[in-house]
Symmetry: D2
Subunit: 188 residues, 4 copies
């Protein structure tokens, strides 16, 4: 079975990107994979923004990336691109920090007008980091994601909360990610 | 005369982006314009990364943006795009926070292989914010920028420190920015 | 008054991009500007695809570009980008064939999911050609454009055929183009 | 063994993109795969530019695409993007014409300043066509490709003509493509 790092790039405590990431993580776990969840906003902010490469929490987050066979990124779309918070963390990883890894890029946003942000903005960045395979991603519209609630006890929210209209397309990209993970393991 | 906000997106205390920005600011001031310099890394990190829109220092930085007729951005190129730090700050500005403004995008990087990052990654983001005119930008190679020194007393370093080989192309884009600023004032 | 080249990048004889271009041309003419319309599909196909730079009709099309103060491009969105036909013609122009010119990029498409294609795919190409100003563009949805009819006698169809819902946003970008054209003339 | 379509997007009769494509095809054949070579410039130009979907030669080219397990694209970089000729052909393929296929994007150009054109311009288009896997591509500098000669009898030139300095990076992306082709066959 594979080990996956699920990375949330939302700056918000309560966020639809987190709900989406939790939903996808549940699917991955139900298929027997292990999932480690990293919320970038929980990392030490000053160390992140000042590129303090030696900060222990940042070093640890890089080690968690290195251990993963696959990575799922979930980010809100802001200003026609992915979040600056996510980029700030990627900026601190090694130039080829995704070598050998499969990557599933996911986004949340209010309008399908943002749909191309994943492929034009995030994918080239992930490709520059030498990802083995950035599989086809998906933008889930905000209205298809159950509003997250602040009383939720777990950092990543519970699984059954994506509207049925968005589910088939989401499942399709998750299956593509699972296929690619499988191939990675054969290749190893 | 126009008022310009010079924004540094480098996460580093000592950075070539800052040197470049200081150099361009000097030129703008020598033409009679006023320049306000904003180093994003000096803003409160946690408020920035957690999208705390009410933080007084962030509110103040947005007010400084709003007051400007033109904006110069200087960013290092990391992972085939502009810095996450710069994007994190842009994410907090109003959707149309550049309405009516002229923008000059500048980058620093170790190789011309990064040259297209300005036009493919940063320009679409600035355009989405309704900039009046994002003029042609320029990537200055690290080797053409005098190494900044930690003993420098001012936050943005002294003016005469761009190699003569890079100067003509830099001057050309700055002149384009000045022309556009002029047009903005006629339009106002 | 300014002189504008209106370029249609649609491969189709009957096309919504042509209707849109005709509509915008009418507005420009009503403001006193002259408009020359170039449908790339009317150029000699073999010369275009084989990059035959000496072909008289292609040489003439480049001369028409050179004479223009401003250029309006209208293209369908195919495969998340602008048409190959338009790119094939741009490929034959001088590297800096848009120097000093204002450019208005327009697109037509079936879904707002294509909205970012203008800024991520077409704008960087136009910027690489040293356009003085690529103003904010607009994607007009197919359903807002009156179906063009084959019996239309003129090559570019009649003016009053954009749905009222799309008109304000279209007028806004056309006004931005007119402002920029004005600035170009002051700068000259 | 897999079947590969090698597509040249150069508008030129004699072109470095063709040399590069011939070189890569030889490697693929030496590993036991079959390669079908398509030079888009050899297709009927008028049918291609007028989107004449029923043209027999175009229908045949689409059938050759459909039959392939993998596709190699080689294109010159013009105006900060891939060739319009290549895009004109892609525009005529089905929206999801790359479903299930591995794709290797290659480019030729005079300067590394064009390096990001593959990932920012071509990759999003290929991804929109639902490619199973667009592997990491490579820009080979013109000076590393032996000048093609007009007396060459075959349409795609002979194999041993890439400079040793460019060979390791080229071999690396070809190996990535071969690995992905292998995975495709397991997945089938």
């Amino acid at each position: 079975m594979a080990h996956v790092l699920a990375v949330s790039g939302s700056p918000m405590e309560i966020s639809r990107s987190n709900v989406l990431l939790g939903h996808v993580s549940s699917i991955l776990e139900s298929r027997g994979h292990t999932v480690d969840t990293l919320r970038i906003r929980d990392l030490p902010a000053q160390a992140l923004l000042h590129a303090d490469f030696g900060n222990p929490a940042l070093v640890d987050s890089s080690a968690r990336l290195e251990k993963a066979d696959g990575v799922v990124f979930a980010t809100p779309v802001y200003k026609a691109a992915f979040s600056g918070l996510l980029k700030a963390w990627l900026d601190l990883q090694p130039q080829f920090g995704l070598t050998g890894k499969c990557v599933l890029p996911l986004a949340t946003g209010g309008s399908v007008a943002h749909a191309l942000a994943l492929d034009y903005a995030l994918r080239p960045v992930l490709t520059s980091m030498d990802a083995r395979h950035v599989v086809n991603g998906f933008l889930v519209l905000d209205r298809y994601i159950e509003a997250p609630t602040p009383v939720e006890p777990s950092p990543i929210e519970a699984p059954v909360n994506i509207h049925a209209d968005a589910e088939p397309a989401l499942i399709k990209v998750v299956e593509g990610f699972l296929d690619s993970l499988q191939g990675t393991r054969f290749a190893a």
